[in-house]
Amino acid sequence: MRENTLGFLLILPSLFFIIFVAIYPLSYNIFLSFCEYNPMRSSEVKFIGLQNYIWALGESVVTYSLYITIVFTIGSVFLESVIGLLIAFALSKIDIDNKFGIVRSILASIFILPWAIPTVSAAVSWRLIYHPVFGILNALLGKQIMWLSDSSFALLSIIVADAWKTMPFFLFIFLAGIESIPTEHFEAAKIDGASDWHDFRYIILPQILPLIFVALSMRAIDAFTKIFDMVYMLTGGGPGVSTKVFPILIYDYSLHFFKFGNAACLAIISISISLAYGIFLLRRGLKK
């Protein structure tokens, strides 16, 4: 009994922290999503039922923003995971115990750099790379493509920049997963004449599949709800609304327009979608 009391007292500070920092704001946000609260016009918080949600479904910028955020999430997560997996596989082939082991360590240190660089710094660098006149990309291609100004290319440019930034997340998770596979499997496969592709297709992939689903679901939620800084620095959501991802739209409605009811509604929609998406992936992964 005394130990239970002590345990409870010791977790009390963390509990207060979670209540005040997470649970209370979330609950208030849910409440606010059913209200009209525009403090620039009135300090009254007026309950309006589902009107904000009806507005969101009918507002073209909201539906378009949802669409491009989903496109961004799928594109970026797919690109990061594929590239991360391929590089992890390649790195796993370098034997850490022989003379090339140092090469693997150096490569691993290089590959983690994008993850370590602050997103704002990375975005500024990518702006220079994408510059239509002075950018290295156009210089290499010998063309003048408006990577960030042309609405046909802007979202793709952001996907590439974000995939570069976050690829190490998948790389090191997959590398750890591959290295946890018993070496006897590979030795047995080698005896049977299996190639690298066979190793990848029949040994590695099935064994790290649950890991892939967990990583995909985590990253999908992250990409959908937290993509802000890269987009803000590269395009600000423009040109027009062609890269106005959902977090930026929520930011506009809350801290530019001060329409907190609308912003809360958009935030709840975002949380619901990413939660549903993440749970779906996790359940599929666990079943498999």
């Binding site: 005394r2 002590l6 007292l9 403090p39 620039m40 016009r41 009135s42 300090s43 009254e44 507002e59 073209s60 910028v61 239509p132 006149v133 003048q144 408006m146 960030l148 100004s149 042309d150 609405s151 395009t235 600000g236 959501g237 423009g238 040109p239 027009g240 609304v241 062609s242 506009d252 801290l255 530019h256 327009f257 001060f258 329409k259």
Partner: protein, 458 residues
């Protein structure tokens, strides 16, 4: 004999936890009741009374002196107040605590003061002319005419733009507006003039109307060496261009009755002109701001553009034989947008009287004159225009004075949302999804259906 009582170490743990919690609560309460006084030693560079800039280290802490807390937005105007800090403190006996916020976050800070009533500042000044109506509608301030008589307010020539419900809201630190900057060396070249006349059947001259602006931009559009004009595409900068064309058609987003007037023949014309001018803008204009315009003009890659006249002194010094300034063009009148950071006292200001002293100093003849001479903006009071030093040293003063009566503000109390909507609608036209007429109709009748330009606080 009873056994000695065992010492229960858990009791010490409970006592310790309780003590730490009490100390933490006590410290937090003490800090909340006694906010620290900022001790500031600032390096001040003064260029007023000496021909050579001098730098001095001045300790500005005055133990016991009342403090005036001012929020300003990053830029040369805020730096100028910092440079004048010792003068202010000598004149008023107050200590100035100046907080300079980046432009991206100043909206939130202003909101917290004027709407939430945070009560952290005695004076806030982070919103420009486009936001005057938005600011006034918050009604979260103490009008300055509570502290200044009508005689003291008389010299402020543009006060109609910052008067709400019969009260003058605050005092602008300065005023500025946009002017047209162009390459006079090319405009005055006999070879160019001859070619222009042959093509357009009239003399080449500084454009006064939008049709003339189009023709001159088209004539000097010679990519990739030179572009005829610049329409900027980043939202906040794009809105400046939008407003120039709007004012040039003598229209506004709202009428005097407060109705929203987005879908008018004048607004349609303004957008058509603006859309036409994008043809002469450099590639990538969609992600440019007027700061990019400054760089392009200085590099000799831009023939002309519209911008705030902060750039005039720079252009004059770096391109004395090439750069010139003219009134902004407009079909009805010069399309000039009035601006200038305005200082207001929030309702919950810790010391409104100190805030009023600061604002009175800001609006004083001496400070206004100093601002004109050192920063290059125009004064917010009319008598400074007649100062002999100002007349002698400000290049283009007559031109500024000629444009001033035409400068106006955006008449809407929810400018950030309006700006975002207009930007969205304009780019629907740029992408070919809608025509100008369809886009403005959609804006007025669908996106902002039922809204008024002036939505006062309930």
């Amino acid at each position: 004999m009873s056994e000695p009582k065992k010492v229960d170490r858990r009791n010490f743990l409970y006592i310790g936890l309780g003590a730490v919690t009490l100390i933490a609560i006590g410290a937090a309460a003490y800090i909340a009741m006694n906010p620290p006084v900022v001790t500031q030693t600032s390096v001040v560079t003064s260029t007023v009374s000496t021909t050579v800039p001098t730098t001095s280290v001045i300790t500005t802490t005055r133990p016991g002196a009342p403090v005036v807390r001012v929020l300003h937005v990053a830029g040369p105007e805020a730096e100028h107040i910092r440079a004048c800090q010792t003068d202010f403190e000598k004149a008023t006996g107050l200590t100035l605590s100046l907080e300079i916020a980046p432009r991206d976050v100043v909206d939130e800070r202003m909101y917290r003061e004027l709407v939430e009533g945070l009560g952290a500042y005695d004076v806030v000044m982070g919103w420009a002319g486009m936001m005057y109506a938005t600011l006034m509608a918050t009604e979260g301030y103490i009008p300055i005419d509570n502290f200044m008589s009508s005689k003291e307010l008389e010299p402020f020539y543009a006060k109609n733009n910052y008067t709400w419900n019969g009260h003058v809201v605050g005092i602008p630190q300065y005023h500025n507006w946009n002017m047209l900057f162009y390459r006079k060396d090319l405009l005055e070249s006999p070879k160019e003039r001859e070619a222009f006349k042959a093509k357009y059947g009239r003399e080449l001259s500084v454009p006064k109307t939008f049709k003339e602006l189009y023709e001159v931009a088209e004539f000097f559009h010679r990519p990739p060496d030179m572009y005829g004009y610049l329409i900027t595409g980043v939202e906040w900068s794009w809105f400046c261009d939008d407003v120039y064309f709007m004012h040039g058609m003598s229209t506004n987003v709202g009428d005097k009755q407060g109705n929203l007037t987005l879908n008018t023949p004048e607004m349609i014309k303004a957008w058509k002109y603006m859309l036409d001018m994008t043809k002469f803008s450099p590639p990538g204009w969609e992600s440019m701001t007027f700061f990019d315009g400054d760089n392009l003009f200085l590099q000799g890659k831009l023939f002309m553009y519209n911008n705030w006249f902060y750039i005039w002194n720079d252009l004059r010094s770096k391109m004395p034989d090439k750069a010139a300034m003219a009134p902004p063009p407009g079909d009805v009148k010069p399309g000039a947008d009035l601006s200038g950071w305005i200082a207001v006292i929030p309702k919950n200001a810790p010391s409104p009287e100190n805030g009023a002293k600061f604002i009175k100093w800001l609006g004083s003849y001496d400070y206004q004159k100093r601002h004109v001479l050192e920063v290059g903006n125009m004064p917010s009071r009319s008598d400074v225009f007649d100062d002999p030093d100002v007349k002698a040293k400000v290049a283009g003063l007559d031109m500024f004075k000629a444009v001033l009566p035409h400068a106006e503000v955006v008449w809407c109390t929810w400018v950030p949302e309006l700006r975002s909507g207009k930007y969205e609608a304009f780019f629907k036209v740029v992408k070919g999804e809608m025509t100008v007429e369809q886009s403005l109709k959609w804006l007025q009748e669908t996106k902002f259906a039922g809204r008024r330009a002036i939505e006062a606080k309930r």
